[in-house]
Amino acid sequence: MTENNQPVIELRQVNKHFGDLHVLQDISLTVKKGEVVVIIGPSGSGKSTLCRAINRLETIDSGEILFEGEPLPREGKELAQMRAKIGMVFQSFNLFAHRTILDNITLAPCDVMKASKKNARQEAMRLLERVGVADQAGKVPAQLSGGQQQRAAIARALAMHPKAMLFDEPTSALDPEMIGEVLNVMTELAQDGMTMLVVTHEMNFARRVADRVIFMDGGRIVEENTPEAFFSNPKTQRAKGFLSSVRMQDREL
């Protein structure tokens, strides 16, 4: 079907500076419907900034970002409506500390989408079931482990029925034994056909789940390829260096 080739997220010649630092340099990138794109690269390479720019948590200096063919609104109601269609998962979970897990998930559907309380609750419980934390629904975030919080955060994003999901280093703040449970949820999501952009250091996840891997360094997209091609045969020197240093760490573990 042609539908599957429709770009959901599109960046054209995007530039951004933090003071003197040119953190995004002429970034052009397309994520098609149902595609899973994984962005890897050393810290400071601009990959998180890129991810955050897509729902305008970071502004850009020049270039264009389109979501479902529409340019990203600059502010106001239109921006809020656009953000509601893009799910975002953060490194530090960012659950609302004063509300229960269930409330965390129903809050935006009720407020933003005007869903009825009853429907929102049912949907929330279904999602919590799906990510495996339904038994924690009545607790507040601080009572959950990091892995449970992150899975609840994924459920919170899914409750808005997003057209695409952004993951900004979703496992970087987790203890090693909890990384797997979050990656499993993400893998299932990818298998269900969700359009995903994932910034991560999990090379195995990238290899298994990604349709495309993007390697960033120094604010540029240095390499873009299928995971097999990228991991077995990186073309650039910088990608080779990055991969070998990552593999070295893996061996040391």
């Binding site: 960012n94 809050l107 507040v140």
Partner: protein
């Protein structure tokens, strides 16, 4: 006069004054809370003139002596053809000044909210008012229970401004002047009011600690 003389002669007046002080404190604090929240919303709003107004408001009412404000309300406003009854003047003064402090407490309570939560709310498509109403104000309030408790005690003490105008019924400070102009109540007349203020303050403090334990946000 001795304690027992004072109590037999003026006991019911003291009780009435205590009740008046409680009433004033309650309504002043409630008003201060409402105005304080509103001003705080102004101070964090995306609209610059509102932010400036909010900051200006807080600077004015945090720095004006209560007596001066009351004098303005009672004696200056009538020149502008605005005349409030005495009790309204007292209530306005005891709302405006604590509301500035209330806003400051809320601003510091706001600092306990991680910026990530704000980003998450934004990413879910919440607008400014949803963000303020659902995330920012509830967390700020719940983190500011102890300073708000202090503020309520301070508000109670500020209601003694009521002694400077002919308030009926009188509050706890006014009653002392009333007694001392009629009989030689002396220090003991003050001491009774002081004890009643002190008792009220302790009650507020206990209630505040209880509430703080109950609503404190686990982090």
């Amino acid at each position: 006069m001795t304690l027992s003389q004072l109590l037999t002669q003026y006991g019911d007046r003291y009780l009435q004054a205590l009740f008046t002080t409680w009433q004033l404190t309650f309504f002043s604090f409630l008003g201060a809370l409402a105005v304080g929240i509103l001003v705080t919303v102004f101070r964090v709003s995306p609209i610059r003139p509102l932010r400036l107004f909010g900051d200006f408001y807080v600077q004015i009412f945090r720095n004006i002596p209560g007596a001066a404000l009351l004098i303005l309300l009672v004696y200056a406003l009538p020149y502008l053809k605005i005349t409030f009854p005495y009790d309204a003047c007292v209530l306005i003064a005891t709302i405006l000044i604590p509301s500035a402090f209330c806003s400051e407490h809320l601003m510091s309570g706001m600092n306990t909210i991680s910026p990530g939560q704000i980003e998450a709310a934004r990413a879910l498509g919440m607008n400014f008012f949803q963000l303020i109403r659902r995330i920012v104000i509830p967390q700020s309030l719940r983190s500011a229970v102890l300073p708000m408790t202090n503020l309520m005690v301070a508000t109670m003490l500020t209601t003694s401004l009521g002694s400077q105008v002919p308030l009926r019924p009188m509050e706890l400070t006014g009653i002392v002047s009333y007694i001392n102009t009629r009989s030689a109540g002396g220090v003991m007349a003050f001491a009774i009011s002081a004890a009643l203020y002190c008792m009220t303050g302790l009650l507020i403090g206990a209630a505040g600690s209880w509430l703080d334990r109950k609503v404190r946000i686990l982090r």
